[in-house]
Protein backbone atom coordinates (compact mmCIF):
# COMPACT_ATOMS: atom_id res chain seq x y z
CA UNK A 1 0.00 0.00 0.00
CA UNK A 2 2.78 2.37 0.96
CA UNK A 3 4.65 1.47 -2.23
CA UNK A 4 1.55 2.30 -4.28
CA UNK A 5 1.25 5.70 -2.56
CA UNK A 6 4.94 6.37 -3.14
CA UNK A 7 4.63 5.44 -6.84
CA UNK A 8 1.61 7.71 -7.23
CA UNK A 9 3.43 10.59 -5.55
CA UNK A 10 6.47 10.12 -7.78
CA UNK A 11 4.25 9.94 -10.87
CA UNK A 12 2.35 13.11 -9.94
CA UNK A 13 5.61 14.95 -9.19
CA UNK A 14 7.02 14.02 -12.60
CA UNK A 15 3.75 15.00 -14.30
CA UNK A 16 3.69 18.40 -12.57
CA UNK A 17 7.33 19.03 -13.48
CA UNK A 18 6.70 18.16 -17.14
CA UNK A 19 3.59 20.39 -17.24
CA UNK A 20 5.47 23.23 -15.58
CA UNK A 21 8.36 23.06 -18.07
CA UNK A 22 5.88 22.91 -20.96
CA UNK A 23 4.00 25.96 -19.63
CA UNK A 24 7.24 27.97 -19.52
CA UNK A 25 7.78 27.59 -23.28
CA UNK A 26 11.41 26.48 -23.57
CA UNK A 27 13.61 28.70 -25.72
CA UNK A 28 14.38 27.11 -29.12
CA UNK A 29 18.04 26.17 -29.44
CA UNK A 30 18.68 28.32 -32.53
CA UNK A 31 17.54 31.59 -30.90
CA UNK A 32 20.06 34.39 -30.49
CA UNK A 33 20.96 36.10 -27.22
CA UNK A 34 20.94 39.82 -26.45
CA UNK A 35 23.04 40.66 -23.43
CA UNK A 36 23.34 44.25 -22.20
CA UNK A 37 24.43 45.91 -18.97
CA UNK A 38 21.05 45.66 -17.25
CA UNK A 39 19.33 42.64 -18.75
CA UNK A 40 19.54 39.87 -21.30
CA UNK A 41 16.99 37.91 -23.32
CA UNK A 42 16.71 35.41 -26.17
CA UNK A 43 15.06 36.12 -29.51
CA UNK A 44 14.35 34.41 -32.85
CA UNK A 45 17.22 34.44 -35.37
CA UNK A 46 15.14 36.07 -38.11
CA UNK A 47 14.16 39.07 -35.94
CA UNK A 48 16.04 42.36 -36.08
CA UNK A 49 17.55 43.92 -32.99
CA UNK A 50 18.11 47.69 -32.89
CA UNK A 51 19.75 49.58 -30.06
CA UNK A 52 19.10 53.31 -29.80
CA UNK A 53 19.05 55.78 -26.91
CA UNK A 54 19.58 53.02 -24.35
CA UNK A 55 16.52 51.21 -25.67
CA UNK A 56 16.52 47.83 -27.35
CA UNK A 57 13.97 47.27 -30.10
CA UNK A 58 13.08 43.79 -31.32
CA UNK A 59 11.39 43.89 -34.70
CA UNK A 60 10.01 41.68 -37.43
CA UNK A 61 8.49 43.01 -40.61
CA UNK A 62 7.47 41.81 -44.05
CA UNK A 63 7.11 43.75 -47.27
CA UNK A 64 3.38 44.20 -47.76
CA UNK A 65 1.68 47.23 -49.28
CA UNK A 66 -1.42 48.05 -47.25
CA UNK A 67 -3.55 50.91 -46.02
CA UNK A 68 -2.32 52.33 -42.72
CA UNK A 69 -4.76 50.80 -40.20
CA UNK A 70 -4.27 53.76 -37.84
CA UNK A 71 -4.79 56.54 -40.37
CA UNK A 72 -8.20 58.12 -39.74
CA UNK A 73 -7.71 60.96 -42.22
CA UNK A 74 -10.07 61.41 -45.19
CA UNK A 75 -7.51 59.84 -47.51
CA UNK A 76 -5.54 57.22 -45.56
CA UNK A 77 -1.98 56.60 -46.69
CA UNK A 78 -0.25 53.31 -47.46
CA UNK A 79 2.52 51.50 -45.64
CA UNK A 80 5.11 49.46 -47.56
CA UNK A 81 5.91 47.10 -44.71
CA UNK A 82 3.81 45.27 -42.16
CA UNK A 83 5.48 45.27 -38.78
CA UNK A 84 4.07 42.12 -37.22
CA UNK A 85 6.28 42.18 -34.12
CA UNK A 86 7.49 45.39 -32.50
CA UNK A 87 8.72 45.36 -28.91
CA UNK A 88 11.01 47.86 -27.17
CA UNK A 89 12.89 47.26 -23.90
CA UNK A 90 14.32 49.92 -21.62
CA UNK A 91 15.37 50.47 -18.04
CA UNK A 92 13.67 53.51 -16.54
CA UNK A 93 13.90 55.36 -13.27
CA UNK A 94 10.74 55.22 -11.17
CA UNK A 95 9.51 58.75 -10.66
CA UNK A 96 7.77 59.90 -7.49
CA UNK A 97 4.19 59.60 -8.60
CA UNK A 98 3.98 57.76 -11.89
CA UNK A 99 0.73 57.70 -13.79
CA UNK A 100 0.28 54.14 -14.83
CA UNK A 101 -3.05 54.17 -16.62
CA UNK A 102 -5.20 51.17 -17.31
CA UNK A 103 -3.95 47.95 -15.80
CA UNK A 104 -4.78 44.69 -17.50
CA UNK A 105 -3.69 41.12 -16.97
CA UNK A 106 -4.49 40.18 -20.55
CA UNK A 107 -2.87 36.97 -21.81
CA UNK A 108 -0.95 36.37 -18.58
CA UNK A 109 -1.27 34.64 -15.26
CA UNK A 110 -2.22 37.21 -12.66
CA UNK A 111 -1.38 37.17 -8.97
CA UNK A 112 -3.82 38.04 -6.19
CA UNK A 113 -2.38 41.58 -6.16
CA UNK A 114 -3.36 42.05 -9.79
CA UNK A 115 0.20 41.69 -11.01
CA UNK A 116 1.15 39.50 -13.93
CA UNK A 117 3.41 36.55 -13.30
CA UNK A 118 5.53 35.54 -16.28
CA UNK A 119 7.24 32.73 -14.40
CA UNK A 120 10.49 34.67 -13.99
CA UNK A 121 9.18 38.20 -13.39
CA UNK A 122 6.25 39.82 -11.63
CA UNK A 123 4.94 43.20 -12.70
CA UNK A 124 2.19 45.12 -14.41
CA UNK A 125 0.83 45.35 -17.90
CA UNK A 126 -1.21 48.28 -19.17
CA UNK A 127 -3.05 48.69 -22.41
CA UNK A 128 -3.09 52.19 -23.86
CA UNK A 129 -5.22 52.17 -26.97
CA UNK A 130 -7.85 53.75 -29.15
CA UNK A 131 -9.67 51.73 -31.80
CA UNK A 132 -6.98 49.07 -32.09
CA UNK A 133 -4.04 51.47 -32.29
CA UNK A 134 -1.93 51.50 -29.19
CA UNK A 135 0.48 49.55 -27.11
CA UNK A 136 0.86 47.30 -24.13
CA UNK A 137 3.30 48.62 -21.55
CA UNK A 138 4.82 46.07 -19.19
CA UNK A 139 6.82 47.14 -16.17
CA UNK A 140 8.88 44.87 -13.95
CA UNK A 141 10.85 46.00 -10.89
CA UNK A 142 14.61 46.10 -11.53
CA UNK A 143 17.52 46.97 -9.29
CA UNK A 144 18.17 50.34 -7.61
CA UNK A 145 14.54 51.48 -7.72
CA UNK A 146 14.36 51.21 -11.50
CA UNK A 147 11.93 49.32 -13.71
CA UNK A 148 12.33 47.30 -16.85
CA UNK A 149 9.72 48.76 -19.19
CA UNK A 150 8.65 46.82 -22.26
CA UNK A 151 6.46 48.45 -24.89
CA UNK A 152 4.69 46.04 -27.19
CA UNK A 153 2.86 47.65 -30.10
CA UNK A 154 -0.57 46.38 -30.98
CA UNK A 155 -0.39 44.89 -34.46
CA UNK A 156 -3.21 47.06 -35.69
CA UNK A 157 -3.70 45.40 -39.05
CA UNK A 158 -4.73 42.25 -37.19
CA UNK A 159 -6.84 44.13 -34.67
CA UNK A 160 -10.51 43.85 -35.62
CA UNK A 161 -11.26 47.38 -34.41
CA UNK A 162 -8.64 49.24 -36.51
CA UNK A 163 -9.06 50.26 -40.17
CA UNK A 164 -8.40 46.85 -41.72
CA UNK A 165 -9.84 47.47 -45.20
CA UNK A 166 -9.64 43.72 -45.87
CA UNK A 167 -5.83 43.89 -45.93
CA UNK A 168 -5.65 41.66 -42.85
CA UNK A 169 -6.95 38.64 -44.76
CA UNK A 170 -4.37 39.13 -47.52
CA UNK A 171 -1.57 39.57 -44.98
CA UNK A 172 -2.47 36.38 -43.14
CA UNK A 173 -1.86 34.44 -46.37
CA UNK A 174 1.77 35.58 -46.51
CA UNK A 175 4.20 32.81 -45.58
CA UNK A 176 6.67 35.05 -43.76
CA UNK A 177 4.15 36.92 -41.64
CA UNK A 178 4.06 36.43 -37.86
CA UNK A 179 0.41 35.70 -37.16
CA UNK A 180 -1.30 37.11 -34.03
CA UNK A 181 -1.19 33.86 -32.03
CA UNK A 182 2.45 33.40 -32.95
CA UNK A 183 3.25 36.99 -32.00
CA UNK A 184 2.06 36.56 -28.41
CA UNK A 185 3.68 33.10 -28.17
CA UNK A 186 7.07 34.43 -29.26
CA UNK A 187 6.71 37.47 -27.01
CA UNK A 188 6.02 35.27 -24.00
CA UNK A 189 9.11 33.15 -24.65
CA UNK A 190 11.24 36.30 -25.01
CA UNK A 191 9.91 37.74 -21.73
CA UNK A 192 10.34 34.44 -19.91
CA UNK A 193 13.97 34.36 -21.02
CA UNK A 194 14.75 37.81 -19.55
CA UNK A 195 17.47 37.87 -16.92
CA UNK A 196 17.85 41.09 -14.95
CA UNK A 197 21.42 41.91 -13.90
Amino acid sequence: MNNKKLSLTVFLTILLTVCSVAAQNPVPANWKTYSGAAFSFRYPPNFVLKIKNRQVQLLHKVRFLHTDPCDASDRPGNLDFLEDFNVTFGIKQLTGNPKTGEVTGEDWETTSEGLIDTGNLQGEVMLNTVEGCGQYVYSFPAKKGKVLEIERLQISLFNPTAFQNGDDKKALKLKAVVKPAEEIRIFKIVVQSIKLK
Partner: protein, 248 residues
Protein backbone atom coordinates in the same frame (compact mmCIF):
# COMPACT_ATOMS: atom_id res chain seq x y z
CA UNK B 1 -27.24 76.36 -20.04
CA UNK B 2 -24.18 75.29 -21.95
CA UNK B 3 -22.26 77.85 -24.00
CA UNK B 4 -19.77 77.54 -26.81
CA UNK B 5 -16.68 79.66 -26.24
CA UNK B 6 -13.71 79.47 -28.62
CA UNK B 7 -14.58 75.91 -29.57
CA UNK B 8 -15.03 74.73 -25.98
CA UNK B 9 -18.36 73.72 -24.46
CA UNK B 10 -18.59 75.64 -21.20
CA UNK B 11 -20.73 73.60 -18.83
CA UNK B 12 -20.12 71.87 -15.51
CA UNK B 13 -20.97 68.56 -17.20
CA UNK B 14 -17.98 68.74 -19.55
CA UNK B 15 -14.36 68.37 -18.43
CA UNK B 16 -11.84 70.06 -20.70
CA UNK B 17 -8.87 67.83 -21.53
CA UNK B 18 -7.54 68.98 -24.88
CA UNK B 19 -5.05 66.91 -26.89
CA UNK B 20 -3.83 69.58 -29.27
CA UNK B 21 -1.80 67.13 -31.38
CA UNK B 22 -5.10 65.54 -32.44
CA UNK B 23 -6.24 68.88 -33.89
CA UNK B 24 -5.49 69.14 -37.61
CA UNK B 25 -6.50 72.71 -38.46
CA UNK B 26 -9.41 75.11 -38.35
CA UNK B 27 -12.91 73.77 -39.01
CA UNK B 28 -15.74 76.09 -39.96
CA UNK B 29 -18.40 75.30 -37.37
CA UNK B 30 -21.04 76.58 -39.79
CA UNK B 31 -20.18 73.67 -42.08
CA UNK B 32 -20.47 70.88 -39.51
CA UNK B 33 -23.04 68.45 -40.83
CA UNK B 34 -23.00 65.52 -38.47
CA UNK B 35 -21.88 63.75 -35.32
CA UNK B 36 -20.06 60.41 -35.50
CA UNK B 37 -20.35 57.96 -32.62
CA UNK B 38 -17.22 55.88 -32.00
CA UNK B 39 -16.24 53.20 -29.48
CA UNK B 40 -12.69 53.05 -28.14
CA UNK B 41 -11.98 49.34 -27.70
CA UNK B 42 -10.50 50.23 -24.33
CA UNK B 43 -11.81 49.81 -20.80
CA UNK B 44 -11.07 53.28 -19.53
CA UNK B 45 -10.73 56.90 -20.57
CA UNK B 46 -7.14 56.88 -19.34
CA UNK B 47 -6.17 54.08 -21.70
CA UNK B 48 -7.31 56.18 -24.64
CA UNK B 49 -5.78 59.38 -23.24
CA UNK B 50 -2.44 57.60 -22.98
CA UNK B 51 -2.81 56.43 -26.59
CA UNK B 52 -3.65 60.01 -27.65
CA UNK B 53 -0.49 61.21 -25.92
CA UNK B 54 1.74 58.47 -27.33
CA UNK B 55 0.48 58.74 -30.91
CA UNK B 56 1.58 56.21 -33.46
CA UNK B 57 4.90 56.14 -35.29
CA UNK B 58 4.43 56.04 -39.06
CA UNK B 59 7.25 53.86 -40.40
CA UNK B 60 6.96 55.26 -43.91
CA UNK B 61 6.86 58.96 -43.08
CA UNK B 62 9.12 58.41 -40.06
CA UNK B 63 7.05 60.69 -37.87
CA UNK B 64 4.66 60.15 -35.00
CA UNK B 65 1.05 60.76 -36.00
CA UNK B 66 -1.95 61.42 -33.83
CA UNK B 67 -5.65 60.80 -34.23
CA UNK B 68 -8.74 61.02 -32.06
CA UNK B 69 -12.19 62.52 -31.65
CA UNK B 70 -13.54 65.74 -30.10
CA UNK B 71 -15.18 64.14 -27.06
CA UNK B 72 -14.80 61.03 -24.95
CA UNK B 73 -17.34 59.53 -22.54
CA UNK B 74 -15.91 57.33 -19.78
CA UNK B 75 -17.46 54.04 -18.70
CA UNK B 76 -16.24 53.39 -15.18
CA UNK B 77 -15.08 49.90 -16.09
CA UNK B 78 -11.35 50.45 -16.20
CA UNK B 79 -8.64 49.61 -13.73
CA UNK B 80 -6.86 52.93 -13.78
CA UNK B 81 -4.01 53.35 -11.35
CA UNK B 82 -2.93 56.93 -10.55
CA UNK B 83 -0.11 55.98 -8.24
CA UNK B 84 1.59 52.62 -8.09
CA UNK B 85 0.74 52.39 -4.41
CA UNK B 86 -2.96 53.10 -4.98
CA UNK B 87 -5.57 50.51 -5.65
CA UNK B 88 -6.88 50.72 -9.20
CA UNK B 89 -10.15 52.63 -9.61
CA UNK B 90 -12.60 52.31 -12.45
CA UNK B 91 -13.07 55.93 -13.60
CA UNK B 92 -16.36 57.83 -13.56
CA UNK B 93 -19.20 56.28 -15.52
CA UNK B 94 -20.66 58.77 -18.03
CA UNK B 95 -18.08 61.50 -17.44
CA UNK B 96 -17.74 63.69 -20.54
CA UNK B 97 -14.30 64.91 -21.60
CA UNK B 98 -13.79 67.42 -24.39
CA UNK B 99 -10.56 66.27 -26.04
CA UNK B 100 -10.44 68.72 -28.98
CA UNK B 101 -11.95 72.10 -29.84
CA UNK B 102 -15.09 71.77 -31.96
CA UNK B 103 -13.70 74.42 -34.32
CA UNK B 104 -10.75 72.15 -35.10
CA UNK B 105 -10.66 69.24 -37.55
CA UNK B 106 -9.87 65.87 -35.99
CA UNK B 107 -8.97 62.73 -37.87
CA UNK B 108 -11.56 60.32 -36.54
CA UNK B 109 -13.83 59.16 -39.36
CA UNK B 110 -11.30 57.85 -41.90
CA UNK B 111 -12.16 56.74 -45.41
CA UNK B 112 -15.95 56.78 -45.88
CA UNK B 113 -18.26 54.41 -47.71
CA UNK B 114 -20.14 57.24 -49.38
CA UNK B 115 -19.71 60.91 -50.19
CA UNK B 116 -23.07 61.46 -48.50
CA UNK B 117 -21.46 60.99 -45.08
CA UNK B 118 -19.73 63.91 -43.38
CA UNK B 119 -15.93 63.88 -43.60
CA UNK B 120 -13.51 64.85 -40.85
CA UNK B 121 -13.82 68.47 -42.02
CA UNK B 122 -17.59 68.44 -41.50
CA UNK B 123 -18.14 66.32 -38.42
CA UNK B 124 -17.73 66.06 -34.68
CA UNK B 125 -16.49 62.76 -33.23
CA UNK B 126 -17.61 61.33 -29.90
CA UNK B 127 -15.69 58.36 -28.50
CA UNK B 128 -17.54 56.16 -26.03
CA UNK B 129 -15.40 53.91 -23.86
CA UNK B 130 -16.17 50.25 -24.54
CA UNK B 131 -14.01 47.17 -24.94
CA UNK B 132 -14.50 45.05 -28.05
CA UNK B 133 -14.94 41.32 -27.56
CA UNK B 134 -14.04 38.84 -30.30
CA UNK B 135 -17.25 36.90 -29.68
CA UNK B 136 -19.75 39.55 -28.62
CA UNK B 137 -18.43 42.57 -30.54
CA UNK B 138 -18.73 45.98 -28.94
CA UNK B 139 -20.68 46.17 -25.67
CA UNK B 140 -23.87 48.15 -25.17
CA UNK B 141 -23.09 51.49 -23.56
CA UNK B 142 -23.90 51.96 -19.88
CA UNK B 143 -26.98 53.93 -18.79
CA UNK B 144 -24.78 56.80 -17.61
CA UNK B 145 -22.88 56.86 -20.90
CA UNK B 146 -26.10 56.92 -22.92
CA UNK B 147 -27.57 59.75 -20.83
CA UNK B 148 -24.36 61.76 -21.18
CA UNK B 149 -24.13 61.10 -24.90
CA UNK B 150 -27.78 62.11 -25.43
CA UNK B 151 -27.19 65.34 -23.52
CA UNK B 152 -24.00 66.03 -25.47
CA UNK B 153 -25.65 65.39 -28.83
CA UNK B 154 -28.59 67.65 -27.97
CA UNK B 155 -26.23 70.35 -26.72
CA UNK B 156 -24.07 70.19 -29.84
CA UNK B 157 -27.12 70.41 -32.08
CA UNK B 158 -28.27 73.47 -30.17
CA UNK B 159 -24.89 75.16 -30.14
CA UNK B 160 -23.89 74.29 -33.68
CA UNK B 161 -26.87 75.56 -35.60
CA UNK B 162 -25.34 74.30 -38.85
CA UNK B 163 -26.22 70.71 -37.92
CA UNK B 164 -29.88 71.47 -37.33
CA UNK B 165 -30.18 73.71 -40.36
CA UNK B 166 -28.89 71.19 -42.88
CA UNK B 167 -31.19 68.93 -44.84
CA UNK B 168 -33.63 67.60 -42.27
CA UNK B 169 -34.11 64.17 -43.77
CA UNK B 170 -32.08 62.52 -41.05
CA UNK B 171 -30.96 63.21 -37.49
CA UNK B 172 -27.31 63.86 -38.45
CA UNK B 173 -26.03 61.09 -36.19
CA UNK B 174 -23.81 58.34 -37.56
CA UNK B 175 -22.19 55.20 -36.15
CA UNK B 176 -18.54 54.93 -37.17
CA UNK B 177 -19.01 51.28 -38.09
CA UNK B 178 -21.82 52.26 -40.48
CA UNK B 179 -20.00 54.93 -42.44
CA UNK B 180 -16.34 53.90 -42.50
CA UNK B 181 -15.14 51.67 -45.31
CA UNK B 182 -12.37 49.96 -43.36
CA UNK B 183 -14.05 49.29 -40.02
CA UNK B 184 -15.88 46.46 -38.33
CA UNK B 185 -19.52 47.39 -38.89
CA UNK B 186 -20.53 47.10 -35.24
CA UNK B 187 -18.59 50.11 -33.91
CA UNK B 188 -20.97 52.63 -32.40
CA UNK B 189 -24.10 51.03 -33.90
CA UNK B 190 -25.78 49.76 -30.74
CA UNK B 191 -24.64 52.84 -28.81
CA UNK B 192 -26.24 55.10 -31.40
CA UNK B 193 -29.51 53.18 -31.14
CA UNK B 194 -29.40 53.63 -27.37
CA UNK B 195 -28.70 57.35 -27.74
CA UNK B 196 -31.59 57.82 -30.15
CA UNK B 197 -33.95 56.04 -27.77
CA UNK B 198 -32.75 58.21 -24.90
CA UNK B 199 -33.25 61.39 -26.93
CA UNK B 200 -36.80 60.31 -27.73
CA UNK B 201 -37.45 59.39 -24.12
CA UNK B 202 -36.28 62.78 -22.86
CA UNK B 203 -38.21 64.61 -25.54
CA UNK B 204 -41.41 62.73 -24.70
CA UNK B 205 -40.95 63.44 -20.99
CA UNK B 206 -40.50 67.16 -21.64
CA UNK B 207 -43.50 67.30 -23.94
CA UNK B 208 -45.61 65.47 -21.37
CA UNK B 209 -44.54 67.87 -18.64
CA UNK B 210 -45.27 70.86 -20.86
CA UNK B 211 -48.69 69.49 -21.80
CA UNK B 212 -49.52 68.96 -18.13
CA UNK B 213 -48.70 72.61 -17.48
CA UNK B 214 -50.84 73.63 -20.45
CA UNK B 215 -48.07 75.54 -22.14
CA UNK B 216 -46.18 75.11 -25.37
CA UNK B 217 -42.51 74.60 -24.67
CA UNK B 218 -39.89 73.77 -27.28
CA UNK B 219 -37.69 70.99 -25.97
CA UNK B 220 -33.93 71.32 -25.80
CA UNK B 221 -33.77 68.80 -28.62
CA UNK B 222 -35.07 70.63 -31.68
CA UNK B 223 -36.37 67.59 -33.47
CA UNK B 224 -39.64 65.76 -33.70
CA UNK B 225 -39.87 62.18 -34.84
CA UNK B 226 -42.19 61.60 -37.79
CA UNK B 227 -43.26 58.09 -38.88
CA UNK B 228 -40.28 55.83 -39.43
CA UNK B 229 -38.97 55.27 -42.92
CA UNK B 230 -37.79 51.78 -43.75
CA UNK B 231 -35.20 50.82 -46.33
CA UNK B 232 -34.10 47.36 -47.43
CA UNK B 233 -31.79 46.61 -44.58
CA UNK B 234 -32.74 48.39 -41.42
CA UNK B 235 -35.05 50.85 -39.80
CA UNK B 236 -33.88 54.43 -40.08
CA UNK B 237 -35.31 56.87 -37.60
CA UNK B 238 -35.71 60.24 -39.26
CA UNK B 239 -36.24 63.56 -37.58
CA UNK B 240 -37.42 66.87 -38.88
CA UNK B 241 -37.02 70.21 -37.16
CA UNK B 242 -40.03 71.22 -35.08
CA UNK B 243 -40.97 74.16 -37.21
CA UNK B 244 -41.20 71.92 -40.30
CA UNK B 245 -43.16 69.24 -38.47
CA UNK B 246 -45.58 71.87 -37.20
CA UNK B 247 -45.97 73.34 -40.68
CA UNK B 248 -45.10 76.76 -39.37
Amino acid sequence: MAELKDGIIVDKTVTEKIFSKNEKGAMDVKKIKGIVIHQTNSQSAESTFNAYTAGRYNTKKKITEYFGAHFLIDRGSGTYRENKKDKPYPGIDGKIYQTAHVNQICNHAGNLKSKLYPTNSHSIGIEIVGRFDETDGYPASSVAQVESAAWLVATLIELLSSIASTDAKDDHLYAHGDISSGKKPSEGVSSLEQIRKQIEKEKAAKEKAAKAEGITVHTSIPFRMPPMAIDNTRVIIRYVPLHLADGE
